[in-house]
Symmetry: C2
Subunit: 412 residues, 2 copies
């Protein structure tokens, strides 16, 4: 009795298909994987630079252009790459064919420009693979309920790849990019950053600032829900079995690290609402209007001053700062606060590790390490597997290097 073939999805980003030579290398990579006896499905991004050019065209004609037309224009980039990659595969003797989102079909909710995937019909792709043909799927796009092209938003090709992997029940989804894996932290800041062999979905989601440049957050969420094992690796480095980093379910990791990585985010703006007369429900009076305005509040700290007045400090995304201030201005009479202070020269540093769940004392290491360097923590927040602090942005590198060492993450 022969084993059923193992199915692998291989996804290549824009720099991996940047020109015809790179596309030829992609074809060789696919051949290599196929020579192992695997059935391979390929997902491709647009050639590097093409999407930006198309977006530029659209916005030059109309800064607030029709997102349905934007999608028709921008999705052309992946269409081209899928055809070219199929040709490159055929040229080295690998049967292949391109699949556009509308051909599969790849159904989305039709929120043009930022669509979410509803369903991917794996039947045609499985039939294609069973015939010995490598499907080359245009990433980043699907069909909306209006039967028009809907793109998944920037970086959506990773999500396409994971969705295809789920639809064809692939053993693994390999994301080829221009870095060789996921690191404990940003190697540009911390020289001793170490490549991780394995990381859990949850950790990957929390390490967004480290990982987002590597792997789009949305794709990790989908991989977690669909239990799709994701490998991140470089399309420029030699192929080995140990290449890259594997993002997997917690159950696949026997020896759980206490701390997996250290992330940072400069995307936070701090808002302090000061001298609020203390009364019950004051937090709701502030945060309910913000939620109604679809402004996401991240870290929150409440303190009472010597004058008996309450101060409420929280962070929002920098893009939401102006909107948040408008909302607060609008409810000034309800809350009758004294003043509002804002700051955006702040950074959020997060220590992430699935092992935190079962180990106490992880937070005190962080606090002590920062205190030893004279770094003041403005806001603190914690989740099951993460501790975050908001500090002055000028301490970013100092704090990250100190924490990387303190948690034993430094490479030998």
């Amino acid at each position: 009795m022969s084993m059923p073939p193992v199915r692998i999805v291989m996804k290549f980003g824009g720099t991996s298909v940047a020109d015809l030579d790179r596309i030829r290398i992609v074809a060789e990579r696919v051949k290599h994987e196929r020579d192992k006896g695997h059935q391979v499905a390929v997902v491709v991004s647009a050639m590097a630079g093409v999407t930006n050019r198309m977006v530029g065209y659209c916005h030059s004609l109309d800064a607030s252009c029709d997102p349905r037309e934007y999608d028709a224009v921008v999705a052309s980039g992946e269409q081209v790459t899928s055809g070219l990659t199929a040709i490159a595969l055929q040229a080295i003797g690998i049967p292949a064919r391109s699949w556009q989102g509308w051909q599969i079909p790849f159904r989305t909710d039709g929120a043009h420009g930022k669509a979410r995937i509803d369903t991917v019909d794996g039947a045609a792709l499985l039939a294609c693979m069973a015939d010995g043909i490598v499907p080359v799927i245009a990433g980043f796009q699907g069909l909306g309920p209006d039967e028009r092209i809907a793109t998944l938003g920037r970086g959506g090709s990773d999500t396409s790849a994971v969705a295809v992997a789920a639809a064809i029940r692939a053993e693994r989804c390999d994301i080829y990019t221009d870095v060789d894996g996921i690191y404990t932290t940003d190697p540009r800041i911390v020289k001793k950053a170490r490549k991780l062999d394995r990381i859990t979905f949850e950790e990957m989601l929390e390490l967004a600032s480290v990982g987002a440049k590597v792997l789009q957050t949305r794709s990790v969420g989908l991989a977690m829900r669909e239990k799709v094992r994701v490998r991140v690796l470089s399309s420029f480095a030699p192929e080995t079995d140990e290449a890259g980093s594997l993002v997997v379910d917690e159950e696949e990791i026997m020896e759980k690290e206490l701390v997996t990585g250290i992330a940072y985010s400069h995307d936070e703006a701090k808002i302090s609402v000061r001298r609020i007369p203390d009364r019950p429900g004051i937090a709701a009076a502030i945060f309910t209007p913000l939620a109604k305005a679809r402004i996401n509040v991240d870290m929150i700290v409440q303190s009472t001053g010597a004058d008996g007045m309450t101060n409420l400090t929280f962070t929002v995304g920098k893009a939401d700062q102006a909107g948040a201030l408008d909302v607060l201005e609008g409810c000034r009479d309800d809350i009758s606060y004294g003043e509002i202070q804002t700051a955006h020269d702040v950074v959020k540093i997060s220590v992430v590790g699935i092992g935190m769940r079962s180990h106490a004392g992880m937070a005190s290491t962080m606090f002590q390490t920062l205190a030893d360097r004279g770094i003041n923590m403005q806001v603190i927040s914690t989740s099951e597997i993460k501790i975050s602090v908001l500090i002055d942005a000028e301490y970013t590198e100092l704090a990250m290097r100190a924490l990387h060492t303190a948690y034993g993450l430094d490479a030998n």
Copy 2:
């Protein structure tokens, strides 16, 4: 009782949509036509240069690449222009939406890279126009029976436009290009060439060498069959009611010109099969194998030499010359000819006019004019509305200018 709206198709070629500024001008042209109260459907080509770049990509990867993948890659150009043009229209307040070939659908025979149009479903386009929305259709492409993109071959956007005009029963199909109409002959050769206000479909087909740069022959054939009035005009010249040239059914032309234009073709190769023992059926023995090899024979002349042997001279397309010689070599024993001579420094000059049907003496003007200049006619062929002669290529300009004057075509 109000009149039903007049429907117009406006087709813009690659130079008319070469960049964003040109696309903005296209939008203004459409607005101008729409302001007259017409319902307008737009068909667009790829931005100038894009199709060539895409074709170059495909052929670099594989000179004989899969035409289905070639189509997926190359068709992206029109997809982009359709979206951008819709955005440009919306930006000046004209409701518009892009339509891809697969969305209409535009059904073809699926001969990838050179597909023929089977049917165009006008229902969705008519509904779109009835809603006050300008459909902007990606030219050059449709869907094959395999549900994959099939392109119509180079210049196919003209054919797309005529097919759309037929499907929506348009009053007229305006082809915007970079010349301001159809001329009696090539103005680069004959300075006194004159723009024609009207020309019949039949004449236009015969004037391929003059018109092919302006209007793809296939589109004229379709227009003739579907009785779609076609206007050729420049997208760079000011819009007037007299702009361009109108290609129409014979019935629409009251005063028929004896001669409408003079065409030339350098695409002919002459083949002479010499010293064939004369016997019945010798022409069939030569032309049947050529037909089986799908080689199109154009002009034919048979002559008998002083030795009683037959000489047979004919022309084929230059691209078919080598194939024709192979075929003749293969039937050497059957025909037992003496030798084969070839020449490709020849040109076919054709005088075309619907009035020839009812007027004698048109050919003698041609023969006398050429004889007066000492130009030897190697082969002569005639059709109902055309007289063609094959002459030495170096006499091309001399012959064309002399004939242009002789037939009274010179501009004042």
